[in-house]
């Protein structure tokens, strides 16, 4: 099916089903119940799941397959956003050319950065990409926003103003990003008993693109090209000795993954026509690394899971405040209640980054394969099978 083998085909079908039904599945609690704050089925968050899913899938093509750890991937995301907003400003609010342009610009940037960075590997590569991303951030934040040559609009962020040319904008088209006239903000509300489900055009656009991106990633993982990339990770020296030049392959992987990031950046701008330099900051690059590792680097579904989990935590855990905690522990005696609230307080609300950091450290120490490996271990407990194949595949060293 779709040129995939049975296992991958099944995985892809499951992913399609989950993505399309996400507005249902992620809204399990009735609207007026106390648990409603754990619902994730609102358009803004769903869009983020899909967009950062794309970002992480792309990052995984580089890191998971070739083992090159890029610490500056957010630069391409930011560049993509800026490119898309410029498309909106100059030509039209239609998202298709904007996204295409975002990918092209990100590709150009990643060829340049990749060509230089890939001259070194291992730590040097990580530091070089980090330096490039920080340089892009500095450029976007201050240098390229001087009055004479305002490309990024600095701290305010690039946005569309009413006096922008927008050459192909006609009356009757929505004054927002749209797909051939259908605004991305349009949604259909479905009330079912106490539940309320929102089906949003923007989300389904992101979801569709994510599915295409995911399909492309599966094909890439299973292709001879993907095998070549794995060879770079497992033994670069040996690959060179067999007479193959690894550089072009690594560069191709870098550019593909940069284009994924550009695509994600373009989509971010399409959902909300605004691009800021903070999207390029090194913490944003760190975030995509976290997502990929948390889900499971080198696996197909891992990055998407990781992206979903981190974005969910960011939105939901950071909303929990002391009042909510007091409600939860109300069944305990007063002293105990306060005690529990005091203990949990630093980890929720504004402190959710602390939770994130600790989870990340624990995952790297105890579960290097991420959530996917965790799932496999649990599955093995139940089936009782000693899956030697799984262990073998998890032991691999990246390019040094």
């Amino acid at each position: 099916m779709f040129g995939l083998n049975k296992k991958d085909g099944l995985l892809f079908l499951v992913v399609i089903a989950i993505t399309l039904l996400a507005p249902f599945l992620l809204n399990p609690f009735p609207e007026n119940s106390g648990m409603a704050q754990f619902n994730a089925g609102y358009p803004d968050l769903l869009q983020r799941f899909a967009i950062y899913g794309i970002f992480a899938i792309g990052f995984n093509i580089l890191f998971g397959l070739t083992g090159y750890l890029s610490f500056g991937h957010a630069a391409f995301l930011g560049v993509g956003s800026y490119a898309a907003v410029w498309m909106f400003k100059l030509f039209t609010y239609n998202v298709v050319p904007a996204i295409a342009f975002a990918m092209i610009v990100a590709a150009i940037f990643s060829v340049l950065i990749g060509y230089i960075s890939l001259r070194r590997s291992g730590i040097y590569f990580a530091i070089l990409t980090l330096a490039f991303a920080q340089m892009s951030f500095a450029l976007a934040y201050s240098v390229l926003s001087n009055p004479k040559f305002n490309l990024t609009n600095g701290e305010t962020g690039l946005q569309v103003y009413s006096n922008d040319p927008q050459m192909f904008h006609r009356d009757g088209l929505p004054n927002l990003p749209h797909i051939f006239g259908l605004s991305v903000r349009a949604s259909y509300e479905l009330e079912l008993g106490g539940w309320s489900f929102t089906f949003n055009v923007g989300y389904y656009l992101c979801a569709l693109i994510m599915l295409i991106a995911f399909y492309f990633a599966i094909r890439l993982f299973r292709s001879p090209f993907g095998m070549m990339l794995r060879a770079i990770k497992s033994n670069n020296t040996r690959m060179t000795y067999t007479g193959l030049n690894a550089k072009p392959y690594a560069l191709a992987a870098f550019v593909i993954s940069g284009m994924y990031a550009g695509l994600a950046g373009g989509l971010l701008a399409a959902m909300d026509p605004l691009a800021g330099a903070e999207r390029m900051f090194w913490t944003a690059s760190g975030e995509v690394v976290l997502m990929t590792i948390l889900g499971g680097a080198g696996t197909l579904i891992g990055p998407v899971l990781g992206a979903g989990l981190i974005k969910y935590m960011e939105n939901i855990v950071s909303k929990i405040n002391d009042n909510v905690l007091h409600q939860w522990f109300a069944f305990l005696p007063d002293g105990m209640e306060d005690f529990m609230v005091t203990i949990i307080h630093p980890f929720v609300g504004k402190g959710w980054n602390l939770t994130l950091g600790m989870i990340f450290v624990l995952v790297v120490i105890f579960l290097p394969g991420g959530l996917v490996e965790g799932g496999q271990r649990i599955a093995r407990l139940f089936t009782g099978k000693k899956a030697r194949a799984a262990e073998k595949s998890s032991q691999s060293t990246p390019a040094e």
Binding site: R119, G122, I123, Y124, A126, I127, V289, L290, N353, V361
Partner: protein, 343 residues
């Protein structure tokens, strides 16, 4: 001439900070082979040691001063630090004022302990894991440390002034034959530079002239052979990690009067310090120090009005540009040795 001299001086304080952090990074990398993304966090913890000590010293209680009255005629309530009660206002006030230099004494044991805890508790388990894993775990640790500091001290910068005797500026130009007011330089920055020079000198002397240092250098060159000679090299490397942490911490302590510390200051410096290490040559201690000062001075030259009007924003990107050029022309860095971190 005076402009050039002034810019060199301006670059020295940032250069000193880069050099100290890069020195620590290189010490850890050279001995343990670990790239420590949490090194910036150590710099920040050092700075917050100074903040903590200052807060501890100025713990105070309210007393009613009968001699002074507020505008309603009531006796004025003033906050009086305990330390003034114990040592009298003269010495007590002096101690509070000199909190930053005093916290050097307080920071060294704290930082060495933090370094030991980090190495023994976490990093030890990562020697046999790929470099990517080491980067990731120290990166996670950096986030955790940063968030802990943020939880206790808040997100805003905390001003930590230098003692009054050291906080003015001096007219350096007069001393070497320039006109008055041509080269005026903040005194504390001179102190910072001198301090950095002393620390760097001490670390080099320690490695060069003591038996311990000799063993460590031998271990850096060939760890296995030193181990086979019956020397417990792991323990020495742990101690070196503690020293590297202390160097980063001290750099942070003394930097507080220049830049009020906030929880993300470490990360801001870390990215640049990595660039410094790469430019200097991975694993080369003199290279790290040299590149630190060099890049600090270059940055200060790029910040002059002349440079920023010629090429707008050059001050923001100069360091990265230099790093790219150096890596393309001399992939091992300025003073990198052959065989260290080759592919």
């Amino acid at each position: 001439m005076d402009v050039i001299l002034l810019q060199i001086l301006n670059g020295l304080d940032k250069g000193s900070a880069y050099a100290l952090i890069a020195l620590g990074l290189t010490l850890i990398f050279g001995t343990l082979g670990v790239v420590n993304f949490a090194h910036g966090a150590l710099f920040m913890i050092g700075a917050f040691c100074a903040v903590t000590l200052q807060k501890l010293l100025s713990l105070s209680h309210t007393v009613i001063d009968e001699t002074q009255t507020d505008f309603l005629g009531n006796p004025l309530k003033i906050e009086k630090p305990y330390i003034m009660d114990w040592f009298g206002p003269e010495i007590g006030g002096g101690i509070i004022e000199w909190a930053v230099p005093l916290s050097i004494l307080f920071t060294i044991p704290v930082m060495v302990a933090v370094g030991f805890a980090m190495e023994r508790g976490l990093i030890k388990h990562f020697y046999n894991r790929p470099h990517a894993d080491q980067i990731l775990v120290t990166f996670g640790l950096a986030i955790v440390l940063q968030e802990i500091i943020k939880y206790f001290f808040g997100a805003n910068p905390i001003p930590t002034p230098a003692p009054e005797a050291l906080s003015g500026s001096i007219d350096l130009g007069v001393m070497i034959g320039f006109e008055v007011n041509e080269i005026v330089y903040p005194l504390w920055r001179m102190v910072y530079f001198a301090f950095a020079a002393v620390i760097i000198g001490a670390v080099f002397a320690f490695l060069q002239f003591t038996t311990f240092g000799m063993v460590v250098r031998a271990g850096m060159a060939d760890r296995e052979t030193v181990g086979l000679l019956g020397i417990n090299i792991d323990r020495r490397f742990t101690i070196m990690f503690g020293i590297a942490a202390a160097v980063a911490g001290l750099a942070g302590v003394m930097y507080t009067p220049i830049n009020p510390p906030n929880y993300h200051m470490g990360m801001d410096f870390l990215v640049l310090s990595f660039v410094v290490v790469v430019v200097g040559g991975m694993g080369s201690l003199p290279g790290a120090v040299l590149a630190g000062f060099l890049l600090g001075i270059l940055e200060s030259f790029a910040s002059t009005t002349w440079a920023t009007t010629t090429i707008p924003g050059i001050n923001q990107v100069i360091i990265y540009l230099v790093a790219i050029v150096v890596l393309l022309t001399r992939p091992r860095g300025l003073m990198g040795r052959k065989g260290v971190m080759e592919e």
